[in-house]
């Protein structure tokens, strides 16, 4: 079994819990003393850092959100003087100012350690040739993977993203064994290799660490086949650290969260309340060791669930399911949280490809909210028999109801009924006037 740091990654649960409690109390104190935003928020609630003694006190702490970074742009969330910051990164916000994050020298060391765990979990060791096709620059992906690979002692090819044919050439000439890039770029590399007539089976490439965007099991299969590698999911966000927050082992059964450095929670995005174990909800992180940018209960907007069952790899860290969607897309229908990604998942199972669908929510006076799911009839779904079409409708209906837990109406529509847009398709029409 591949393990970079057996002592920490397989830490005894009791010991881990005590360590986390101790680190949490320290982080809260550090954040309160040095970051105005936290101090104000605690003071308003009449909450003192002393009130947070261990994990059980976590829920007393108010949430931190993305807009805090905008409000305190650029460095207002930092908890150390700028002369201790050795690095900054930034992510482009889709709205307005970018999110700026900073690292002390120790933070950079922690990050390298956590990325070494990540790459080590897929078998990366000294002697490996790591082709790092994550972008270098303000984005955390490039340097994050770079430092982790160097810490392991592997050879890093800092090729960054783009120039796909050259990537394939270098992969062949240098004998790359490890690939770091986004899943969609891995698919492009696989397609390009095939177009160039490269025999991927004969290449020494063995494993890919893919993250920075949501992907699916079917993409995993495609990548593993087209590049003849094991494709592992990695997760992180710059506010919390960058890549290295959670990582898959070779069991490929979810991403182990580095629990000695982060506390992860799942909350109901509409109420902010903690959810029972195994529930699907919004992922929230508290950092435990970061100096420059301590984060308390940061709402990621990512939807996932936890699996605290034992993993065959021996790590004691809890696993999170691959990210299933974003809270930004969430609809609340008759009190039930509905994510477009859930509907997409059901349709993909039935059709086998990414379907075109539209979710229409409506509210008629004095009635309950209606949920309609429009599905375009592709040639793969069509039949000459009414019975077959009705069975299809019923099947989609039944599976959606069992997944969503609410009643709905499935409507089969002609192809191209649902508007296509550049890039992301519009998946939801909400006709309810929710301002009233």
């Amino acid at each position: 079994m591949y393990l970079w740091n057996r002592e920490d990654e397989c830490m005894d649960p009791g010991k881990l819990r005590a360590l986390r409690g101790e680190r949490l109390a320290k982080t809260v104190r550090h954040a309160y003393d040095n970051v105005r935003a936290y101090r104000q928020r605690f003071d308003e609630l009449g909450l003192s850092p002393e009130d947070i003694r261990g994990i059980d006190d976590l829920e007393k702490i108010p949430f931190t959100v993305k807009s805090d970074f905008r409000d305190y742009y650029p460095f207002g969330m930092f908890a150390v003087p700028m002369d201790q910051i050795v690095r900054v990164h930034a992510s482009s916000g889709t709205t307005g100012k970018s999110t700026v994050v900073g690292y002390t020298r120790d933070d950079v060391g922690t990050w390298a350690e956590l990325m070494a765990r990540t790459l080590g979990a897929g078998g990366t060791t000294k002697g490996d040739m790591v082709q790092n096709a994550y972008g270098y620059g303000l984005f955390t992906g490039g340097l994050g993977a770079h430092y982790g690979a160097e810490k392991i002692g592997a050879t890093v090819i800092p090729i960054s993203g783009g120039n796909t044919k050259r990537q394939i050439q270098i992969m062949q000439d240098f004998g790359s064994t490890v690939l770091c890039c986004t899943p969609s770029y891995a698919i492009l590399l696989g397609e390009t290799a095939r177009e160039l007539g490269v025999d991927v089976e004969s290449l020494p490439l063995k494993v890919g660490f893919l993250g920075a965007e949501p992907w699916t099991e079917s993409m995993r299969r495609q990548i593993e086949e087209s590049l003849a590698i094991d494709a592992l999911d990695i997760y992180g966000l710059s506010e919390v650290l960058g890549p290295g927050v959670s990582y898959e082992c070779m069991e490929k059964g979810g991403l182990h969260i580095n629990e000695d450095h982060f506390i992860a929670e799942i909350i109901d995005p509409s109420t902010g309340k903690a959810m029972p174990p195994g529930s699907k909800g919004e992922l929230v992180f508290t950092t435990l060791t970061k100096q420059a940018l301590p984060l308390l209960r940061y709402r990621t907007g990512d939807i996932t669930c936890f699996d605290d069952g034992k993993c065959a790899c021996g790590r004691t860290f809890i696993r999170m399911h691959r990210v299933m969607g974003r809270t930004d897309d969430m609809l609340i229908i008759r009190g039930v949280n509905v994510f477009p990604s859930q509907i997409e998942g059901v349709l993909m199972e039935i059709e086998g490809t990414e379907p075109h669908y539209l979710i229409v929510v409506d509210r008629r006076p004095g009635k309950m909210d209606d949920l309609e799911v429009w599905v375009e009839v592709s040639p793969g779904l069509a039949s000459d028999e009414v019975r077959a079409m009705e069975n299809l409708e019923r099947k989609i209906d039944a599976e959606l109801q069992s997944v969503l837990g609410i009643s709905l109406k499935v409507k089969l529509v002609e192809p191209k009924t649902i508007a296509r847009s550049e890039g992301k398709a519009r998946r939801v029409i909400d006709r309810r006037d929710l301002d009233q």
Binding site: P379, E390, L412
Partner: protein
């Protein structure tokens, strides 16, 4: 070669059927027979045409979902009991009919009926054994 039938998925919206027939007319396709099965929200238009492949392409280009299905076209004696005789034969052979419709026009003394049957090969064998004439795709399309 068996007879190819086109099925077109059409939403119950005004003007959609007209668009199908217009697309076929523009592609110089002649419709030999048709039937529509309808539900509340949509209909399935089934067509026998002179050139199924060209018709399928024309409709697909116009944005319709079209499937091709093999169906059975049989000459049925154009007299009382003609159809009953054929359906009895299928029933005796344990063959179910999914749906059926009659052809526009006739071939000589006989009418033509289109059958959609799950066990197509079995049906053909059973009917041939009883001396029923089954039309090929070429015969039907060139009528």
């Amino acid at each position: 070669m068996n007879v190819s039938q086109l099925s077109v998925f059409i939403e119950n919206k005004s003007g959609r059927l007209a668009e199908v027939t217009r697309s076929l007319a523009d592609a110089n396709i002649n419709i030999r027979a048709l039937s529509i099965a309808d539900t509340i929200d949509y209909g399935l238009l089934r067509l026998i045409v002179n050139d199924p492949v060209a018709a399928k392409n024309a409709l697909a280009d116009a944005g319709f979902t079209v499937t091709l299905t093999e169906v059975l076209a049989i000459e049925v004696p154009d007299k009382p009991g003609g159809l009953a005789g054929i359906i009895d034969m299928l029933g005796e052979s344990g063959i179910n009919i999914e749906y059926m419709y009659a052809f526009v026009g006739t071939s000589g003394e006989n009418a033509i009926v289109v059958f959609r049957i799950e066990k197509l090969d079995e049906a053909i064998a059973a009917l041939k054994a009883k001396g029923v004439r089954i039309l090929t795709g070429d015969e039907l399309h060139s009528l």
